[in-house]
Amino acid sequence: MKMRNIELLAPAGTKEKMEFAFLYGADAVYFGGHNYSLRANAKNFSNEEIKEAVMFAHERGKKVYVTVNIVFHDEDLDGLVDYLKYLSEIKVDAIISSDISVIDTIKKNNIDLEVHISTQASIMNYEAALFYKNLGATRIVLARECSKEDIKRIKEEMGLEIECFMHGAMCTSISGRCVLSNYCTNRDSNRGGCAQICRWTFDYKKDGQKISDEVFSMTPKDLNMIPYIKEMINLGVNSFKIEGRMRSIYYVATVILIYRRLIDKILNNTLTDEYKDYALKVLNRVANRESTPQFFDKLPGVNEQYYLGREEVSNQDFLGLVLDYQDGYAIIEERNYFKVGDTVQFFGPNMETFDYTIDNIMDEDGNVIDIARHPQMIVKIKIDHELPKFAMMRIKMFDI
């Protein structure tokens, strides 16, 4: 396959998650500030933290996109001009927005800021994409509902950069077209207050009578585009986006590393079916829901959603974070219980993933122990493989 710049775009709900995303192979990250971002109740970034994040990214040749993606009410417009000017001054690489008032504000005030059109705009056709292109947008984040044919047509007719979600949670609704949260909880979904009503269960009734003994749920399974990434690259997709600003560092690291290697293998023609199978297994394990390609090749059917409410499992695979490696010992911060005799797996940036059966553990003071049972306790494990800082140790899931 012809090499070209394919961007792997990661969520970064915090500075720590951003650092892990870059370390594990992301080319760019996206996050929100304290205002105007759809994850209103995530930690998000202060103005100063955004500035630091941009410097951190640029020093490493990476990019930062800031979400300014709420659907504004009049009261939210106060301070918007100053905020956009600030983002321009500190040289964020682009903002992600869907509200025309943001784009118009940038134009009217001659603010030097690239705009990527958010998936909240739900662009599924080339005429809508052309509308935004004419406004000066430099990239379109397509609706998750786009089919292969839609992606192809939009790229051909519009020519701008295209960004597609390839992994993570899905809304049941077309993005931005859901205010269930407003009605059920008074929390404004389009300003970051979504209470995820689509994960609730309902009675299913017709003419006042229950017509099913079981509850009704409309929860979609997650998105996972592994089978089609090569095809998407061929269609002209420029940036592959991972959802999940509120996910853990373990999730971010695992997912980014898998996709980094997958994309690299596609670009250098070394992708094998075995690696794809392995990647699928790892990704299905790290998430708490099943995942499927959703809309790319067909309309999601009976197998692409859940029907009886939450079918999610808590993931405790993350055993420890490698803080350092000295004199043949890995210094590890414990995250979940492990003990001598367990077979674990180490993975991380710039290293091959490998299995290891733990045959020794020492506590911080050098005392031999059998079990690491306390989250965040520091332990040492003698191990022959040199490990990079911030590699991770997890339960051995599958053969590599």
């Binding site: 009049d74 931005g176 017509i211």
Partner: protein
């Protein structure tokens, strides 16, 4: 509220004459292939003095189809549109355009953008409180469309949520069902283009509308689902009906505001 300023959607052609007889003059029709959630009609059944309600989020194939019938559509009085692809196709044509990107008409700047760029009017979102609505109407550059009665399209999914559930549960092909949980009840309708959820209770902003400057309103919109012309007349005459929606209930989105 003068009837000549009411714009009402039509669910069956038989009711059209009844509405005309009692003084309505502005009608809105959902259009086959381009609309969702409402009874849709083929273009040749829709009177030319009506507005067309193109409220689907459209894929490229649908946009191609829309261009094929563009000349036919230009014979109508106007278009109320959801998808900006529709706007891009018709913005330089001689037809009245009304922006109704559902749930996005929530601030003055966005509304004024479309008013300043070829749209004759815009529909204000219904999830705003009374004070927010008044402020937007006051600062709008042209008279707006204000939805005074109806069931809001609360959620619009491309998925066939009901068919999938019916199949999974081995049920008959139920459509137009009610989804109910605790205090909340929604009406769900599916078509080949996806599934819409509406609030089960009508909202009624007719009394509130009397507080608005009439010259700042282009149309008072009624999005009817199942009421007949007589019901509508009675409600306009003051029958107690429906609820006040968000008029006195400002939405919040930050944790610290949730308990207020």
């Amino acid at each position: 509220m003068e009837k000549k300023k009411i714009l009402i959607n039509i669910n069956n052609l038989a009711s059209l004459e009844e509405y005309r007889k009692i003084g309505f003059t502005n009608f809105l029709f959902a259009v086959e292939d381009f609309s969702i959630g409402y009874q849709a009609f083929p273009l040749d059944k829709i009177p030319k003095d009506a507005y067309l309600f193109l409220n689907r989020v459209m894929d490229s194939k649908t946009i191609d189809h829309l261009k094929e019938v563009k000349e036919d559509i230009l014979k109508y009085r106007g278009i109320i549109f959801e998808d900006l692809g529709v706007y891009n196709i018709f913005k330089d044509e001689n037809i009245s355009l009304i922006w109704f990107q559902n749930h996005f008409g929530t601030n003055s700047n966005s509304i004024n953008y479309y008013l300043d760029h070829g749209c004759d009017s815009a529909v204000i979102s219904n999830e705003l409180c009374g004070d927010e609505i008044k402020k937007i109407i006051t600062s709008a550059h042209k008279p707006l469309v204000f939805n005074v009665l109806g069931k809001n399209n609360i959620m619009y999914s491309r998925r066939k949520l009901l068919s999938n559930y019916n199949e999974y549960m081995h049920l008959d092909d139920y459509n137009d069902v009610t989804l109910e949980t605790n205090k909340n009840r929604f009406f769900a309708r599916e078509s080949e283009y996806g599934t819409c959820l509406f609030n089960d209770e009508y909202f009624n902003y007719i009394n509130f509308a009397k507080e608005l400057a009439d010259d700042k309103i282009k149309y008072y919109l009624i999005l009817n689902m199942d009421l007949n012309p007589e019901d509508i007349q009675n409600i306009l005459d003051g029958s107690v009906f429906g609820d006040e929606g968000f008029l006195n209930k400002k939405t919040v989105y930050r944790l610290e505001d949730y308990d207020r």
